[in-house]
């Protein structure tokens, strides 16, 4: 919310008449937020197509300076807001995380467009990160491919609203306040594929078990397929558990093949049959209910 001086003067605190126009009374949080929200400097930092619309937003027809996003700064040390404008690739996420670590607190991240929000049209790609939020905390997501300048402006105003709601008294709102700089986000590593150091234990466990599985299956590579199969088997089991046990139709047993691909096919077939059975079950129940009524 904007600071309205007239409103601020109308308080329950007694202000001498001669000072009424010179004194405003407000909370510290509000004053602090007012300062932050109206001097939000984005980083001059474009990734892909969305960057072009970001430039259009900065230029005279739309002009985000009107809302306090005054100037874009090329160095992260002077920036408050990182607009992730475009597809985040595995090769590029390393410098992005490094840049984020170099920004001083308080800092915000706005994911502009489908790619930065969740991978977008390029999500299937082998070099594409499915969304900036896999690595950095994102404050505002702006949908679109690319978002129009109006949409980006709306997203930026949404960020200002978010700041308005924060309170210094609440440590969760402003974790940096009074405690100094935060721990840096671990920078991902480019190995055989991208590696998030925070997940190293999990990755190692997974790689080991995948190796065991593959040895058992006589395979050489492609651990991801075995993961997929395992995940699918889990979901299938979870579905089976959640269902009532009183139907034989649900316990479909199919001959399982030797390779993970066949297994995946089998699971898919099983799920399809289960879905059909569930549908039939629902229909019979509905019929029984109707009869009962």
């Amino acid at each position: 919310m904007e600071l309205n001086l007239q409103e601020l003067n109308a308080t329950e605190f007694p202000v001498p008449v001669e000072l009424e126009d010179n004194i405003a009374i407000t909370s510290l949080s509000q004053l602090y937020n007012w300062g932050r929200r109206n001097s939000m400097w984005p980083m001059l930092f474009g990734l892909a197509c969305c960057a072009i619309e970001m430039i259009a937003t900065a230029s005279s027809r739309f002009d985000f300076s009107r809302f306090g996003f005054e100037v874009m700064r090329a160095t992260p040390r002077q920036a408050d807001l990182m607009i992730v404008s475009g597809t985040v690739t595995k090769k590029m996420v390393v410098p992005i995380v490094r840049l984020y670590n170099q920004m001083p607190e308080p800092k915000y991240v706005l994911a502009m467009g489908a790619c930065a929000s969740g991978g977008g049209p390029f999500k299937e790609g082998y070099n594409v990160v499915s969304g900036m939020d896999k690595y950095l905390p994102v404050d505002v997501y702006v949908p679109g491919c690319p978002p129009t300048p109006q949409a980006l402006l709306y997203g930026m105003i949404a960020l200002q609203r978010k700041i308005d709601g924060q309170s210094i008294a609440n440590g969760d709102d402003v974790p940096w306040y009074g405690v100094g700089s935060a721990e840096p986000t671990p920078v991902p590593v480019l190995g055989p594929d991208i590696i998030d150091p925070r997940q190293m234990d999990m990755i190692r466990r997974q790689a080991e078990s995948a190796a065991r599985d593959m040895e058992a299956l006589g395979l050489r590579e492609l651990p991801a397929i075995t993961q997929i199969v395992a995940a699918k088997a889990e979901t299938a089991e979870a579905v089976a558990e959640a269902l009532p046990a009183d139907t034989d139709a649900l316990n479909v047993v199919l001959p399982t093949g030797g390779t993970p691909w066949q297994e995946a096919e089998d699971i898919r077939e099983k799920r399809r049959l289960r879905a059909l059975a569930r549908k039939a079950l629902r229909a019979t129940r509905r019929a029984a209910q109707a009869e009962g009524e």
Partner: protein, 626 residues
């Protein structure tokens, strides 16, 4: 036969392509055979003789311009790898297509960098994505992915972590009618594919030289950094991938001696979003919106090249209707408007780079907004127009251009379309160009900064496969709209912009002239649109097949886009009687290949000139990295 022999013999440098092939066959008996697969053209050269044959093609036959070199993996269709080369004459005419085949297990094909320097990056890309080795290549390193990446991703048997099925539409997304999302199948919610021998400690090398690892010949980091003492003035400077003047996520590593650049190495791949891999899973139609996102400044031009390539393939089949005249006229209009947008953008940001920070750009973006308003009204989107279709277009012009934003203060946006176009083409755009010329063309600072800077000679420009304003700024009058015409360009009256000097200023002037020529073309298009009013944009009055089955064969569709020659190499194979998904979908990206001579162009100039030189090439990273 006697008559033919008696006719004055045409010099072999300008002979027809058939004669050229016959000449090659007589010169290299046994090394050459015709490519007789249905729908294919050109010759297949024995890899052992490839370099010799290429020298003859370039030197004696006059095909001096290597437009495209790319790999195809024919897994299951003969089980071999193939390199496909398209060579052209800068005098104009069609392509001499030659290919070299190798096995999939240990693929190796001799490098052609000694014949055409323009093969450099393209061969590195083939090594990176297909794993083909090129003996004789000076710097065979990965170019788009990082060193140490797992596998060669464009091979047909390589599967990405989000792999679902070979071809779209994916059945797995709605098994039994139940839609589910691909991330449900991924344990970590991240699209990664870790191999088993992972060792983080080995990978976490944060030393200085690790930053420059995987760089090539251009910069010898070890030599410079290992110098002890304070005697040296030579430094390694890293620019990018986050840098305000690299036009996106592009990186350059330069060595400088004082202020003078001694060598420069472009590093790319920071926006490599796997366009081609996704494109080969997609159906033909799916790819049109993806082409928008290549050179995202001029999406209409990208659409055009792709539909030309696929139409070329479709014309091999029986049921194919070529586009109507109105459709062609509309296509040309959109492409020329895109070219104007592209050149305004390029000039504006180049001026940014040489110090006119953001003032000119703001005026150019205003003009661009007008054109985007028009695109939005016609195609529904400002930037990603997705407008062209095989044999037609998404839609005809609307009656009126209205506001789509529902803003109450945007009521002004309600124009008659033809009136809007007429005013824009006859008044607004020429006025902007005049203003630009008045303030900049003779501007002292512009002249000081750009004359005789970043010089590229005509021979080098051809040899490095430079394209577009970069080639024409070096004095080579090669414009595909004239050299190998397509659409209705032959009947339009316009000149090729060309300048002799080969410096930054020459490229700037080429762009300004092209702006004027585009306006000239647009002025000829307007009466054609009036005359064909009411005519359908589809050949038989209704849209063609939504998902066409494309006959087997190969096609190379190329257009003169704002940044240079944009080519699409599309192979249709697999399936019976035609395919619904491209087997190979390759983009010959001008922004990518135009960077090959960057190192050479930058040598000897000051650090401050480097961003200007890069800006004068005019790259866009979506297309460079694809």
């Amino acid at each position: 036969m006697e008559n033919l022999a008696a006719a004055p013999e045409q010099p072999i440098e300008t002979a027809s392509i058939d004669d050229a092939i016959a000449y090659l066959k007589s010169n290299h008996p046994g090394a050459i055979k015709l490519d007789d697969r249905a729908g294919y053209e050109g010759i297949i050269v024995d890899p052992d003789h490839l370099v010799d044959v290429a020298r003859v093609i370039r030197g004696e036959l006059g095909f001096d311009y290597l437009s495209s070199a790319t790999a195809v993996d024919y897994l299951g269709e003969g089980d071999h790898m193939e390199m496909v080369y398209h060579a052209y004459r800068t005098g104009g005419g069609g392509a001499l297509v030659f290919k070299a085949q190798t096995d999939r297990e240990n693929p190796a094909i001799p490098s052609l960098t000694s014949v055409w320097r323009g093969a450099d990056f393209q061969e590195r890309e083939a090594w990176d994505l297909y794993g083909i080795r090129f003996p004789g290549h000076p710097n065979l390193k990965r170019i788009l992915m990082w060193e140490g990446f797992h596998g060669h991703p464009m091979r047909k048997d390589w599967r990405e972590a989000y792999y679902e099925e070979e071809l779209k539409p994916f059945d797995s997304r709605w098994p039994g009618g139940h839609v589910h999302r691909s991330e449900e199948k991924n344990v970590f919610g991240k699209n990664v594919n870790y191999p088993t021998d992972i060792d983080l400690n080995r990978l976490m090398d944060s030393s200085e030289s690790a930053v420059y690892e995987s760089l090539g010949l251009g910069v010898d980091v070890e030599r410079i950094m290992d110098k002890d003492g304070f005697e040296t003035n030579e430094l390694v400077v890293n620019m990018g991938p986050h840098h305000p003047s690299t036009h996106g996520v592009f990186r350059m590593v330069l060595t400088v001696d004082g202020e003078t650049v001694t060598s420069l190495e472009p590093v790319m791949g920071y926006l490599h979003r796997n366009h081609e891999k996704i494109g080969e899973r997609n159906t033909y139609l799916h790819n049109i919106p993806f082409t928008d996102r290549l050179d995202y400044i001029s999406s209409m031009g990208n659409n055009h090249g792709y539909v030309l390539a696929v139409e070329q393939l479709m014309s091999l089949g029986r049921k194919y209707n070529p586009p109507t005249y109105r459709c062609e006229a509309l296509r040309v209009m959109m492409v020329e408007l895109s070219r104007i947008v592209n050149h305004l953008w390029a000039i504006g940001f180049w001026l940014n780079d040489i110090g006119a920070f953001f003032t000119p750009v703001l005026y150019f973006i205003q003009e661009r907004e007008r054109i985007l308003d028009f695109f939005e009204a016609v195609a529904g989107s400002r930037m990603m127009c997705n407008y062209m279709r095989f044999g037609g277009l998404f839609g005809d012009l609307p009656e009126r251009i209205k506001s789509v934003s529902n803003l109450t203060n945007d009521r002004v946006r309600d124009y008659n379309t033809m009136q809007f176009l007429t005013e824009m083409i006859n008044e607004r755009i020429p006025r902007t160009i005049d203003e630009l010329e008045l303030l900049l063309t003779q501007n002292e600072i512009v002249l000081e900064r750009s004359v005789d800077v970043g010089v590229l000679s005509a021979e080098d420009a051809i040899n490095y496969s430079a394209a577009g304003p970069l080639l024409r700024g070096s004095g080579v009058a090669y414009d595909i709209r004239r050299a190998d015409p397509y659409s209705i360009y032959p009947e339009l009256d316009f000149d090729i912009a060309v300048e002799e000097e080969g410096d930054m200023y020459a490229r700037y002037r080429v762009r300004v002239t092209e702006l004027r020529e585009s306006v000239r073309i647009l002025r000829q298009i307007l009466p054609r649109l009036e005359a064909t009013k009411g005519e359908s944009i589809w050949a038989d009055g209704k849209p063609g097949a939504y998902q066409p089955r494309v006959p087997h064969g190969e096609a190379y569709g190329r257009v003169e886009n704002g940044k240079g020659e944009l080519g699409y190499y599309v192979v249709s194979a697999g399936g019976r009687g035609g395919s619904s998904n491209p087997w190979r979908y390759h983009v010959r990206a001008p922004s990518f290949i135009n960077l090959t001579p960057l190192g050479r162009m930058s040598q000897g100039y000051k650090v401050a000139d480097i961003v200007g030189i890069l800006g004068s090439i005019d790259i866009v990273l979506g297309e460079t990295d694809r």
